[in-house]
Symmetry: C2
Subunit: 235 residues, 2 copies
């Protein structure tokens, strides 16, 4: 375990990341499981080094957990209620006495039991290109009980994801290079957790002006084949 | 001057508020002028007390500066580059030796010269209902030179304001209870700093579903009179 020196970090400020993954037409969330004897489920998070920007800190956390680089990662909200303290972790610390984990974490007990303001980031990644343990991806409607306000952080991240999906679609890099309108609709339906009418969806997507229509997908039955699309490359 | 006790506050974390005001069909920004012998222009900002939520801290700053209460105030971005330090204030401290201000601020010199991560909030207020010194409102295209990255904070706040204007229109409380489509268009034109085509604008505004059409405005010339509108009251 890496030695943690509190003086290297900004005090009372943390980052919590909601890393959405898209798999089997369903939205998932990357969850960390900490084993202190008692199991605790948390969002992947961390702290900000004194010589590191907040965006660098968030990217470092994402890289370490998923192996994914060059991903679109965005701040969406700061969680800063006045009583935002990690009572559960403090309680766990007080019940573990002599394990190796307890010893290595003990120096941080005072530091960690302060009030923390947390900057929420979210990302949306292709689970297939992630190196995270597949068991760490939970379907969004089957999340385990999370510590502190982490459930609320997920809820707020989902609101931000939906609000920005049209605009940030390309950056998320979730679809193969060419895809059908149906592939795109399935992605939207996963994010919004509801079905869309096919004609309206197609009309809306085309009106965004970001799609380029290519040849029809080869299926053998030419007249039923759907068109393929790709994202326009200009910014 | 109020005694400042660093231990009452979250270290290395500040709030900077971009308070937009609407006056004479033009967008303005509330700017603080600090006089240390040398004049320095900054956004209204402050720090977060240990027992205060970040939203409470931001509201307190807004109240103190403008006398405006119950206003819509929203986080929009955290500014957290690794070299974000107030070099100008540090420099000014080093040049003032014996004034009363220097003495009262001297205890904060070390505290203030640390790296600060700043949470940006923005608000849009009716300048007429604000008690701020009218001279503190600068037209957005005639801002003085601001310290640190405060100009960038204004730019980012304007992006957020434009992005959210449709959705937050009612909350901003900028128009009288009843208003004409022209009044509304002037507000949009001030925020976007560009003209809109009248017909398209009206169509778009009506499609938002937040306006209720009332009787025509009394002008004496009935057939030319514009309709009055108000915001629907359901949430």
């Amino acid at each position: 375990m890496i030695q943690f020196n509190p003086q290297d970090f900004i005090p009372q400020l943390s980052i919590d990341s909601v890393i959405f993954g898209y798999k089997q037409k369903k939205l998932h969330v990357l969850i960390s499981e900490l084993d202190f004897g008692k199991h605790v489920y948390t969002l992947p998070g961390g702290f900000i080094k004194q010589n590191q920007s907040i965006d660098e800190a968030a990217l470092t956390i994402l890289n370490e957990r998923t192996g994914v680089k060059d991903i679109f990662l965005e701040q969406f909200k700061v969680f800063g209620s006045s009583d935002r303290k990690n009572y559960e972790i403090s309680e766990i610390f007080s019940t573990i006495n002599s394990s190796e984990i307890a010893k290595s974490l003990a120096i941080n007990k005072v530091w960690l039991s302060q009030r923390f303001i947390s900057i929420g980031y979210y990302a949306l990644v292709d689970i297939n290109s992630s190196q995270a343990n597949p068991k760490s991806w939970f379907p969004i409607d089957k999340l385990p009980e999370l510590i502190m306000d982490h459930k609320e952080i997920v809820t707020e991240a989902l609101i931000a994801l939906r609000r920005n999906l049209d605009e940030k679609l390309i950056g998320f890099n979730l679809l193969p290079e060419t895809f059908t309108m149906r592939n795109l609709q399935e992605l939207y339906e996963a994010v919004y957790e509801k079905p869309f009418a096919r004609n309206n969806f197609q009309k809306k997507m085309l009106s965004l002006g970001v799609l380029e229509r290519l040849e029809k997908q080869y299926t053998g039955a030419a007249n039923k084949a759907p068109y393929l699309y790709r994202f326009k490359t200009e910014k």
